[in-house]
Symmetry: C2
């Protein structure tokens, strides 16, 4: 007779900093996998809903709320050491890094890592990140999820850098603008913002701060 599985909720938190897609990782202070980096997560508290657990982890680590958060997949084969196994309900979230205040704790160290140069990860977390990235790339194409990665007002160049860093390829400026404007997910505020030298850019905002499928 096996014991019932451990129930954990794990949240892949993505942000884009300066044209670089990054994920938040935690340096594990306890066994198993002490000292190894892992995606933030914790045990599901009995009586707590999955989305509440994911939101709790997200707020604990970053302080942000009201962002895009969606269930990703339920893995039963990430943890091969805990007796009885673990069911890991994974979520993914998109945050504007300017709104984030990383938790400062004595035991667990959270830090951003570029998706280009990930450290050695615990618990097969590579698969979870790869799957989250695939999902994010798909969502970016036919939804407005990018709203959750940017401040309320932003320039088209900032938006384009977000798309480019997630999709991993450069895009043509004119085609990009044509496309996002024709989708009608953003609109101009009429105000301008200077970006160092160069002509000041028009500021845009998303027409909806809720996820929309196109």
């Amino acid at each position: 007779m096996s014991s019932p599985p451990t129930l954990s909720v794990v949240v892949v938190i993505f942000t884009v900093v300066d044209g670089d897609l990054q994920a938040l990782l935690i340096n594990r202070s306890g066994e198993p996998n002490q000292g190894v980096w892992a995606i933030p997560g914790g045990l599901l508290i009995p009586g707590e809903s999955l989305v509440d657990a994911a939101t709790r982890k997200l707020v604990d680590e970053t302080g942000v709320h009201d962002v895009f958060l969606e269930q990703l997949y339920t893995f039963d084969d990430l943890d091969d050491v805990t007796p009885g196994g673990t069911l890991a309900m994974t979520y993914f979230a998109l945050v504007d890094h300017e709104r984030v205040r990383l938790a400062e704790r004595a035991d667990w160290q959270p830090a951003w890592f570029s998706m280009q140069e990930l450290p050695k990860l615990a618990f097969n977390n590579e698969r979870v990140l790869a799957y989250a990235l695939e999902r994010l790339r798909n969502k970016l194409q036919y939804t407005n999820v990018a709203y959750s990665l940017l401040p309320g007002r932003f320039t088209l160049s900032q938006l384009q850098r977000v798309y480019e860093s997630i999709l991993g390829r450069e895009m043509d400026k004119r085609n990009f603008r044509k496309r996002v404007l024709s989708l009608e997910i953003i609109e101009s505020t009429g105000e301008h913002q200077a970006e160092g030298a160069g002509r000041p850019a028009l500021l845009y905002e998303f027409t909806s701060q809720e996820p929309i499928s196109l």
Copy 2:
């Protein structure tokens, strides 16, 4: 202190019969929801993987194996009567109805229902079916999952009826054929099959019986 949630695995089983998309439902013999139709499912056995549990349910109800089976979503809000709540890991499967031999049991009655005329369902199962249908429609567009709904050899008209019944709209015969042939997911066997009156149709087969993304 709440009790830990019940862990169940639920499998939406779709088939297409005579141009009609149908789902397999079970008439519950026990409380809660006695006498009400529900999606087949059962408790996760400790030590059993999720996909094994889903496969077990599928084989129990239909006798088929080696079909398309994929995780759908994990719901925590379907069952509002069981103390501690239930985590329902849902899967969806696609079967060729000609290969199915429905379980004949004294207690649970399985039956096919058209997605057009569903009965009253237990446990918010409407949401699960709606989500499964949405996912199936998407998958149909950019994968070869239809292989799992048809016999090994089939006519292009049969294939088109499968697509039409899932997508819920009629398609142009010439455009449909051009498209599926250009995808190179099917190939002609060279043999013909008479379909009542009318000219006999060429039989085709899928080039792969494994899921392929296009």
